[in-house]
């Protein structure tokens, strides 16, 4: 398989693994959320990449496009990803608001410090 041909999928894989790594390796809760967001975004790119058809244009119907026989990329994954982005944003919002509450309750957002405080 040619790397240039499947460039998007390589990017997806690299982003996905970096996101997952940040999520696991970082002790700071905000950084964890950043990792999670990168991880989610990589999946969005996966969906958008698969919708693409070589030589196709954006699926917008207009006067000109209905006359010439243009190729369109598949709009359905775009729609799905719009929904998934909304879900992703709500998750991030909820995560950040939980972090604010955690900061108030523990006065820190470092995982190991929180763990030590709970162990006492």
């Amino acid at each position: 398989m040619n790397v240039a041909e499947s460039f998007n999928y390589w990017a997806v894989m690299i982003l996905m693994m970096s996101g997952l790594y940040i999520l696991i390796a970082q002790g700071n809760l905000v950084k964890k959320v950043i990792g999670l967001t990168i991880f989610q975004t990589s999946v969005f790119i996966l969906y958008i990449s698969m919708a693409n058809i070589t030589g196709a244009s954006a699926p917008v119907i207009s006067e000109a496009s209905s006359q010439t026989n243009l190729l369109f990329s598949n709009p359905l994954p775009h729609v799905m990803i719009l929904t998934a982005i909304v879900v992703g944003i709500s998750t991030t919002a909820l995560a950040l608001s939980l972090i604010i509450r955690i900061k108030r309750a523990y006065d820190t957002i470092e995982e190991d410090e929180i763990h030590d405080m709970d162990a006492q």
């Binding site: 929904t83 998934a84 998750t91």
Partner: protein, 493 residues
């Protein structure tokens, strides 16, 4: 006319009711409202169950867009069975929730609690009814986001960190599921589950399908807290408000098991799942190890809710174990245990909520002598506990019976021994609660403790009596589970 719309009403009613709770903003009124909605949902679920058992699967095209184009809701016996379990448990728990929430949540938070509760219910019901894989992902996220909120409302500050780690794990799981869905769509160009099951058959050698399958199954297993992906669950159940832990423990993981069943046997197909991949070995190994490890962990916990949380992980492992048998009786055992475990955990968590209401603590050592002070509550805990162990005349016995029959049928007597040994471990951790409550004498403050009020005892005992009733009269569970098993295996062929 109305009966055609039941499938959609099941989901839309709680969905619309949730934001309406925000407008009411009065603790008692929102509670009454949520209770009414949940009761309405359980009536609809019962009607659907009746409709499905007599006329076969209900298919509903959303907005009248027919299946492959539009989203389709499809309810078979399995779905209707799960709907009935989730809605009726939710209603009984809500019945008790008013006074429990009053003691655990501030006045402003109570209406918000019911908003999250109804949204969580909506998500679960949606997962069960939908026949579209992307729609499934959305409902998974609705119920998950609502349950993070529910858990974070706990009084203890550890509820916040528990909710946060659940959020990370839950989102990770849901995104894995999303990757699986994406790859399946890439292969087939459809999102409809029925369509997928037809088209995936030809692709059983495709490596993309293996990848999709692995991502999907791991994602669901994160959601259902299958050992070793369970670490988020104990704290989430322990520190959440009592009503939320009772609701989530009794229903959430069951719904995740339903997704697993639906995909392993329906969408991917039994043949692909079990012959192309060593799924049987994986599920059975994880099941056996999960039963032993989680039950042992439960013995060493100091907090009563934590004991039950670990016990939940063990019970999920039982369900996965019998699911892994890949036989008619194994599946039957899983389905029966789904129902029975919902009854046991519902009763136990609700009874503990009544204890919490009186003593304000879940530490086992605080339970000393309470058996005398709160005889009815602790009698319920004893019955629930015996049911967990699997003593005859309780639902637990029925579950264990079917599990052992299913394993002996294949000649796997070591597996049957593990199931029995798991029961013994359950007896040990349940005994720790009994011993403290009945054999130790009450300390000074505990002598003032009175029995829980009647409005708590009624729902607790409803669930406890159901534990005994369905332990003696197995006709309902057995018939429905049998029909559901046939429909699952039928759809696979």
């Amino acid at each position: 006319m109305m009966s055609n719309q039941l499938a959609i009403l099941q989901v839309v009613i709680p969905l619309i009711a949730a934001p309406l709770c925000l407008l009411v903003r009065h603790a008692k009124l929102t509670w009454l409202f949520a209770l009414t909605i949940s009761a309405l949902c359980s009536v609809i679920a019962l009607l659907l169950l009746q409709q499905v058992t007599t006329h076969g699967p209900v298919v509903y095209a959303l907005g009248d867009w027919q299946a492959p184009i539009g989203i389709e809701y499809r309810i078979d016996v399995l779905g209707a069975y799960l709907l009935t379990i989730v809605t009726s448990i939710s209603t009984i728990i809500l019945l008790a929730s008013s006074s429990i929430n009053k003691s655990e949540l501030s006045k402003q938070k109570q209406p918000l609690f019911y908003v999250a509760y109804l949204l969580c219910l909506t998500g679960m019901l949606g997962i069960i009814v939908t026949g579209d894989v992307f729609n499934l992902f959305i409902f998974i996220e609705i119920s998950a986001l609502a349950s993070y909120t529910l858990i974070a409302m706990g009084k203890d500050r550890r509820a916040l960190t528990a909710a946060f780690s659940y959020l990370l794990v839950g989102t990770l799981g849901a995104t894995f599921i999303l990757i699986g869905i994406g790859l399946m769509y890439m292969l087939t160009g459809t999102l409809n589950m029925h369509d997928l099951s037809v088209r995936l058959v030809e692709l059983s050698q495709s490596r993309t399908l293996f990848t999709a399958f692995s991502f999907f199954i791991v994602g669901v297993c994160l959601k259902l807290a299958l050992f070793p992906l369970h670490w988020w669950l104990p704290n989430a159940y322990t520190y959440s408000p009592s009503v939320a832990s009772a609701f989530l423990a009794a229903t959430a993981t069951k719904v995740a098991i339903y997704i697993l069943l639906r995909f392993i046997f329906g969408v991917f197909g039994q043949e692909f799942s079990f012959s192309a991949l060593p799924l049987q070995n994986i599920l059975m190994t994880l099941g056996i190890v999960g039963i032993l490890v989680a039950s042992t962990m439960a013995i060493y916990q100091k907090n009563a809710k934590q004991i039950l949380a670990y016990s939940s992980i063990a019970q999920i492992a039982y369900m996965i174990l019998t699911l892994g048998f890949n036989s008619h009786n194994g599946l039957l055992a899983t389905l029966i245990h789904i129902f029975n475990h919902a009854l046991m955990k519902g009763a136990l968590f609700l009874a503990l909520a009544a204890v919490m209401y009186r003593i304000g603590s879940m530490e086992i050592k605080q339970f000393a002598g309470l058996g005398k002070q709160m005889p009815w509550t602790f009698a319920a805990i004893v019955i629930g506990g015996l049911s967990l162990v699997g003593i005859p005349l309780t639902v637990g016995f029925i579950s264990k019976w079917y599990m052992i029959v299913a394993s002996l049928e294949n000649g796997w007597w070591p597996v049957a021994l593990v199931i029995v040994f798991g029961s013994l471990l359950a007896a040990v951790y349940v005994w720790r609660i009994f011993e403290t409550a009945y054999l130790q004498t009450a300390h000074e403050p505990n002598k003032q403790i009175k029995e829980a009020p009647l409005r708590l005892l009624i729902p607790v005992w409803l669930l406890t009596l159901a534990n005994i009733y369905f332990g003696i009269d197995v006709r309902f569970t057995q018939n429905i589970a049998e029909l559901a098993t046939q429909s699952i295996l039928g759809s696979a062929m």
